[in-house]
């Protein structure tokens, strides 16, 4: 018997780590991984809340999140490959032409 808030806290930590990764990492692929990390944190909170409210739909949502994550990964990685082909770098700081 542990309070639900622990799970939520864990998910929050994971999410925060994801955001931090987004902020401090330079490698596009790593940044993309941090996005996945955020998604996982959200999934955990989904499942936790499902346990709290005894609503299985919370777990079903996780599947949708996973599907979206998979699709996003496929497209995102393809984009990364295309970017690498054109810019020959994976460093986001060097991929900054889209500005005023």
């Amino acid at each position: 018997m542990i309070p639900l808030s622990y799970y939520l806290l864990l998910s929050g930590i994971l999410f925060a780590c994801g955001v931090l990764g987004f902020l401090i990492k330079r490698n596009i692929i790593t940044i993309f991984m941090s996005i996945e990390l955020m998604l996982n944190g959200v999934n955990l909170s989904f499942v936790a809340f499902a346990a709290q409210w005894h609503a299985l739909s919370g777990q079903v949502f996780v599947f949708f999140v996973m599907v979206v994550a998979a699709a996003e990964t496929a497209v995102g990685l393809a984009i990364i490959i295309a970017v690498y082909r054109t810019r020959e770098t994976l460093n986001v700081d060097r991929v900054n032409l889209l500005k005023l």
């Binding site: 018997m1 542990i2 309070p3 639900l4 622990y6 799970y7 864990l10 929050g12 930590i13 994971l14 925060a16 780590c17 994801g18 955001v19 931090l20 990764g21 902020l23 401090i24 990492k25 330079r26 490698n27 692929i29 790593t30 991984m33 990390l37 996982n40 955990l44 499942v47 499902a50 346990a51 709290q52 005894h54 299985l56 739909s57 777990q59 079903v60 996780v62 599947f63 949708f64 599907v67 994550a69 998979a70 699709a71 990964t73 496929a74 497209v75 990685l77 393809a78 984009i79 990364i80 490959i81 690498y84 054109t86 994976l90 460093n91 986001v92 700081d93 060097r94 900054n96 032409l97």
Partner: protein, 190 residues
Amino acid sequence: MLHLILFLFFGTICVAGAINLLAQSHPINSALSLIAVMASLAGEYLLLGAEFVAAVQVIVYAGAIMVLFVITIMLLNAGKEERTKGSRIAILIGVPGVVTGGVLVAWTLLHRPDMQTIPIGALKGDPSDIARLLFHDFLLPFEVTSVLILIAIMGAVVLASRPEAIARPHHSTAGPQEIRELVATGKDRR
């Protein structure tokens, strides 16, 4: 008690993996630590009773998505990331923002009086029940996501296939060339 121990066990792996993801400079290490995070998250799901979710988490996330990451890293032969000073804002504004937000959320969570405690395996995510939900109540979203997947596949194929592979020869050289010129004009910070 057992619950708390297991939770802490998996939780520590999770947090350690997440932090390692940030700490590691080589993407492949980050990827592996992320895999560790996902595997231990599957353990958390098991603790919450969502066994099916846990299995799918392992199969889809750890087994498929992360493999894609690893393959990409191997394909592009990504090396250690270079420590460029690209953005002060991210450090000066973003990080404090994240920290404050996280602290606030943690404070609220810990100071909530009516936060109930849950037993181990609180809600049994039986595959058949989930299937019933998924194919009865959430049928339309399910179909929509399937369409989404299809579109994503096509998009990925189009994007990743080499320009000359797609029948657009005039498109093959122009784009990269001019971008290289832009790079050559010293637009990028070094």
